[in-house]
């Protein structure tokens, strides 16, 4: 299986492998793509106080990042339907290499490293057929593309590594084609699912949304230490007919939708932008379109809700405290079921705040 060329490539690449861990670049706890007031784009690292501890220029708008489990390295993925992802050396503040989607593929905005940090997995669109893919990249070979597997559905968006080393993929169900930008091509037949697969690409669990949720697109997911997965949806139908926007997935039990009364449901404007797992049994979700952060429990119970304009970035945390960011440069801390302001920056923080401690 391993070719001579791959081995040589790996040896050559290892010569400039990083030796710097995250603790040496200012103790960041989370990463976010950002935009400066002059329009310049970057990836920033935030510490627990909400201070920007490093900032690396990006040439295009990023969406989410994948953080290497141990090394001070992050992969910033272009905003959908981008075809580039950049591997950043966060200690040196430079681009280490660039990933280009193969012909006929584009990235969907999210990626995740394997637990040992050796492989990167990217969600992709095989757009001529409209099939979801997970691209596999070998870090030791300078991020060479070494393969791909089916994502288990159409329109995969967020991919996360689960505590046991497997992966969960939010297949949003919506078909798009780069020739028509972000136009949604299959709303009448779309059907989202949550897929769980081993690092080898073997699908071990899959839950399709029920009929009532035919127009609900699963986009963002986050996992607790026990493997339960919080799910955030984006409803494609009449915003006043949303059945639910949050759910919890548990292996063997399927999806349990979070029940909300109509005022809470409407306050989210049919749209969840990001989900994070907090502590042992809680989640928070953000709605930039509703300007809300909402807490919910792994038991499906609804927690408190907070107003925060254009809020989106929420970082998962094994602790009970975490960071939240918005489009006008605000950093909040979510702690003990309360959201408080922490810092203000001259930046617009982009959709996702990626945790470094989970």
């Amino acid at each position: 299986m391993t070719t001579r060329r791959a081995v040589l490539g790996g040896l050559a690449a290892s010569a400039f492998l990083p030796k710097t861990g995250w603790s040496q670049v200012g103790e960041p706890v989370a990463l976010s793509a950002a935009q400066r007031p002059d329009g310049a784009l970057s990836l920033v690292g935030l510490d627990a106080q909400g201070t920007i501890v490093f900032e690396i220029p990006l040439s295009a708008r990023g969406h989410a990042a994948a953080a290497h489990p141990t090394e001070a390295e992050a992969v910033a993925i272009a905003r959908r339907p981008g075809r580039f992802a950049v591997v950043l050396d966060c200690a040196e503040g430079r681009v280490r290499t660039t990933l280009e989607a193969p012909d006929g593929r584009h990235f969907y905005g999210h990626a995740a490293f394997s637990r040992d940090g050796k492989y990167l997995f990217t969600t992709e669109n095989a757009f001529e057929k409209g099939e979801g893919r997970v691209g596999i990249w070998d870090r030791s070979a300078g991020f060479e593309r070494v393969g791909e597997v089916s994502s288990g559905g159409i329109g995969p968006h967020e991919i996360i590594r689960l505590p046991d080393g497997a992966f969960a993929i939010a297949n949003g169900g919506i078909r798009t084609h780069p020739a028509t930008g972000r136009d949604k091509l299959n709303l009448e037949t779309m059907r989202a699912n949550l897929t769980v697969m081993t690092p080898d690409g073997e699908i071990t669990d899959q839950k399709q949304l029920p009929e009532l949720h035919q127009l609900n697109s699963l986009r963002h997911i986050a996992a607790l230490p026990d493997g339960r997965i919080g799910c955030g949806f984006q409803w494609q139908g009449d915003p006043f007919e949303v059945p639910a926007l949050l759910a919890v997935f548990e292996k063997g039990k399927g999806l349990a939708f979070v029940d909300m009364d109509e005022p809470d449901l409407r306050s989210l404007n049919a749209y969840i932008g990001s989900v994070a797992a907090i502590g042992l049994d809680g989640f928070i979700a953000s709605s930039p379109r509703g300007g809300k952060v909402m807490a919910f429990g792994a038991d499906g119970s609804l927690g408190k809700s907070f107003s925060a304009s254009d809020v989106c970035g929420v970082a998962s945390s094994a602790k009970t405290q975490t960071l939240v960011t918005d489009g006008s440069g605000q950093v909040y801390v979510f702690e003990r079921q309360n959201l408080a302001r922490l810092a203000q920056h001259d930046r617009a923080f982009d959709n996702h705040l990626v945790s470094l401690n989970s």
Partner: protein, 320 residues
Amino acid sequence: MKRRLAFAFSLLAIPAIADTQAVIDSHILPRHGEFVAATSALASVAENDCTADALKPAFSDAYDAWISISHIQFGPIEEQGLGLAMSFWPDPKDSTGKAIARLTSAKDPIVESADFGEVSAAAQGFTALERLLFDPQPDADYACALTQAVANGLVDKAESINAAWPGFAGLMTEAGNDRFQSEEEVNRALYTALSTGLEFLHDQRLGRPLGTFERPRPRRAEARRSERSLRHIELSLAALEELATTFYSGDLNLTKSAFADARARAAALDDPALAGVADPSKRIRIEALQRTVRDIQNAVNTEIGKPLGITAGFNALDGD
């Protein structure tokens, strides 16, 4: 250093153009005062005579007063979670009809208790009252009790948000507190009320009944039973124009002319329940009104949003 100077200059420049105090004093507070007065009048009529004919004029005045502040969805109404309890619309799942039917068939005594505020928001506001007054009711006595409960509840809600406004207004004028850290955040809140109000007018009050050319949805018009659909459009145009011109004292030529155009088109429609959406010859004029609302949205963005440095949501608009 250069940036710091520019920032200082912008702090000096903004208050002269964006006037929070004026919005509070001559837009928000008086309109909330009118809302309290109109709901109180409605409740006292209902106390004496809860028949539909007796109540319709006071209902109309109170509903007018609500629609005229319904674009102010931040502050006390948000903190107290009362928006949907004032008016449950859009309501594609007919939550209002179901909630009223449920209460009526059970003859639920909650209408006589202080806990009426605990019932479904869909049974509490003007949308519920409209059903009670304009749809035949199977149980006249219960309908009367429910009507009185809704009317009294509206007074309680109106008084509650009105009482909280002066305190909240203080947070807006003395920015630098936990709710509003800067004047920019206050401006953003007011601008959002304006732009969201226009969006609701375009997408919901006009967009819902318009549906598509192939499938117009006249039964989706707001308050079609009381034939107030067009009136709500005119009232919200007036309220939003007053907010825009009170808030921003810079050049508003495009905005004012677009508002004037929309007002004229609305006034010429002569179609109170917007039933014309299903008639191609009339529909075209409702579509033209909707396009004019889009013109207002664009003008407001150009003439108010941009000069104040308020960009539409970086994340909210990105959508992914």
